[in-house]
């Protein structure tokens, strides 16, 4: 908007100040405005973005959850464990729940734990004992007992969780 754009004023009312008609003054003020407005916008938006991201990119805190006593877990079959564990969910203390499948390859000496979350879009898979495979109800993904993909859309095997046994109790880290 150049100065020449300023519409003439009603002479009754008054007239433009000569400063308003000076190209130099106008440009100077416009540049000061542009610089400050830009700086202000950055000063507001960058911290705002940081605030909105918050802790969303931080890795979840790993936690050991109890799967059960060695004696309670099947030595041969796959056991479904619905765990619940006390934890912090952002600002709340909550009980977190989830599903883990546990089996043993050495007759109950040691255990393998698989996260029951399907690697496709996150549904919880179901163990079918008769067919000896996990079936995902959502888009018909199938996994072997060891979690390998047999067929269907899942891109990766089921996630294997670190396991430890303490005083006869089996834990998995989620």
């Amino acid at each position: 908007m150049a100065i020449s754009d300023l519409p003439p004023l009603d002479p009754e009312k008054g007239e433009w100040d000569e400063k308003a008609l000076s190209r130099r003054d106008f440009l100077e003020a416009a540049v000061v405005f542009g610089t400050l407005a830009g700086a202000g916008a950055v000063a507001v938006s960058v911290p705002s973005m940081r605030f909105l991201v918050g802790k969303s990119l931080e890795p979840p805190v790993a936690q050991w959850v109890e799967l059960g006593k060695v004696s309670d877990l099947s030595a041969n079959d796959v056991t479904r464990v619905n765990y619940s564990v006390r934890g912090t969910d952002a600002w709340r203390e909550v009980t977190k729940r989830g599903t883990v499948y546990v089996y043993s390859d050495d007759g109950g000496e040691s255990f393998v734990a698989l996260d029951g979350t399907c690697t496709h879009l996150g549904c919880i898979v179901q163990w079918h004992d008769d067919e000896q495979k996990y079936k995902c109800p959502c888009h018909a993904g199938f996994f072997t007992r060891e979690g390998e993909v047999i067929s269907g859309p899942p891109p990766r095997p089921l996630r294997e969780l670190p396991v430890k046994t303490e005083n006869g109790v089996v834990f998995a880290e989620i």
Partner: protein, 353 residues
């Protein structure tokens, strides 16, 4: 560049109105005058409240179980949470201060006189809505301070003759101060009030544009009243500088003094001394001098009188005189109010130590 501009203009027809908005002639006596930036600064502080308020809503948990923990999380754990909450917290005070100063400026310049009555009336409503922002926001952290101040505040509303008990219950959403209260205060604070304030600001500013600035009162200003500068960039740049100064100040205050958060609300605590936000302190203090039956005088009669006289002001004071030093009545009345507010605020602060 020009072609894009033209393209947009041909479809939207916006260039005319935008140009008119930017080129709006502002009298020279307004230019670089601090007193005339107060309204713009109030608008800027409202924008800051809106921005930080929207940011806070991303984390705030409006439940009696979660509210305190979420504000605690924002204040002490979330990256930059102290800053966003600090600006919102201190910005609320800044907004009350700025809107009051802006009102005093327009008052002493007799800017409420014909034909600017609606400008003044929307301003009075805005002042009360801003105070309502403060009152509803105070409860949201669900800490001792907010809980007990709201308990007392809703109780005060209950001293209205006849319908007091209903008012208290409606404000609380039930007999007790609890989840229903928090939810309605929250809804009022983040939905109702922001919408109402934004609409009123639009009317307020449209009125200003329609009538232009009220005539000057000093000889020096009168001498410049026939000279004009375009709104852009001359006026906006001063407002912008003042606004950035305000922001810098709020950041600084938030940094040196983290926005306070008391311990969580305990409805069974017996030794907590309720205390409202500082701008309600004088009112709280006045209550102490009117115990028992006289209480409604302070809680109802006086606020109604003040609010009513503010609304009626442009219709009572209809003379042509605009210079405060030639209008002893309005000037003395305002000084009386200012002194009362300052004195009782001081007394209350002295008492709370």
């Amino acid at each position: 560049m020009n072609r894009t501009f033209q393209w947009i203009d041909e479809r939207t027809g916006l260039s005319g109105p935008i140009r008119a908005f930017f080129n709006y002639p502002v009298p020279k006596y307004v230019h670089r005058n601090f007193l005339y930036t107060l309204g713009g600064l109030t608008l800027i502080s409202f924008s800051l409240q809106v921005i930080t308020g929207i940011l806070l809503v991303f984390y705030y948990d409006p439940s009696t179980e979660g509210a305190y923990n979420s504000v605690d999380y924002i204040t002490y754990i979330l990256p930059l949470g102290w800053l966003v909450r600090g600006i919102h917290h201190y910005g609320a005070s800044a907004m009350v201060i700025l809107i009051s100063l802006h009102m005093l400026r327009t008052y002493y310049y007799s800017a409420y006189k014909k034909p600017r009555e609606i400008n003044w009336l929307t301003g009075v409503l805005l002042l009360f809505l801003v105070l309502a922002f403060g009152f509803t926001g105070y409860l949201l952290p669900w800490d001792q301070k907010g809980y007990w101040a709201t308990k007392v505040g809703t109780e005060i509303a209950g001293s209205v003759p006849m319908m007091g008990a209903y008012i208290t219950k409606i404000m609380r959403g039930g007999a007790d101060l609890g989840q229903a209260t928090l939810t309605r205060f929250y809804a009022t604070h983040v939905m109702l009030l922001p919408t109402a304030v934004a609409l009123l600001i639009a009317v307020h500013i449209f009125q200003l544009r329609f009538h232009g600035m009220a005539p000057p009162i000093t000889e020096r200003a009168k001498a410049q009243s026939k000279k004009f500068l375009p709104f852009f960039p001359y006026w906006v740049v001063t407002d912008l500088i003042a606004g950035l100064g305000l922001l810098a100040l709020l950041v600084y205050i938030s940094y040196i003094n983290r926005a306070p958060l008391e311990f969580p609300a305990d409805p069974t605590s017996s030794n907590y001394l309720p205390r409202p936000e500082w701008y309600f302190l004088f009112f709280f203090q006045l209550l102490k001098y009117f115990p028992g039956k006289l209480e409604p005088v302070i809680t109802i009669a006086i606020p109604l009188f003040i609010f009513g006289s503010m609304l009626l002001l442009p219709f009572i004071d209809t003379s042509e005189e605009r210079r405060p030093w030639h209008k002893p009545v309005t000037t003395l009345v305002s000084i009386f109010y200012i002194v009362v507010i300052l004195v009782f605020t001081y007394l209350a602060m002295a008492e709370f130590g």
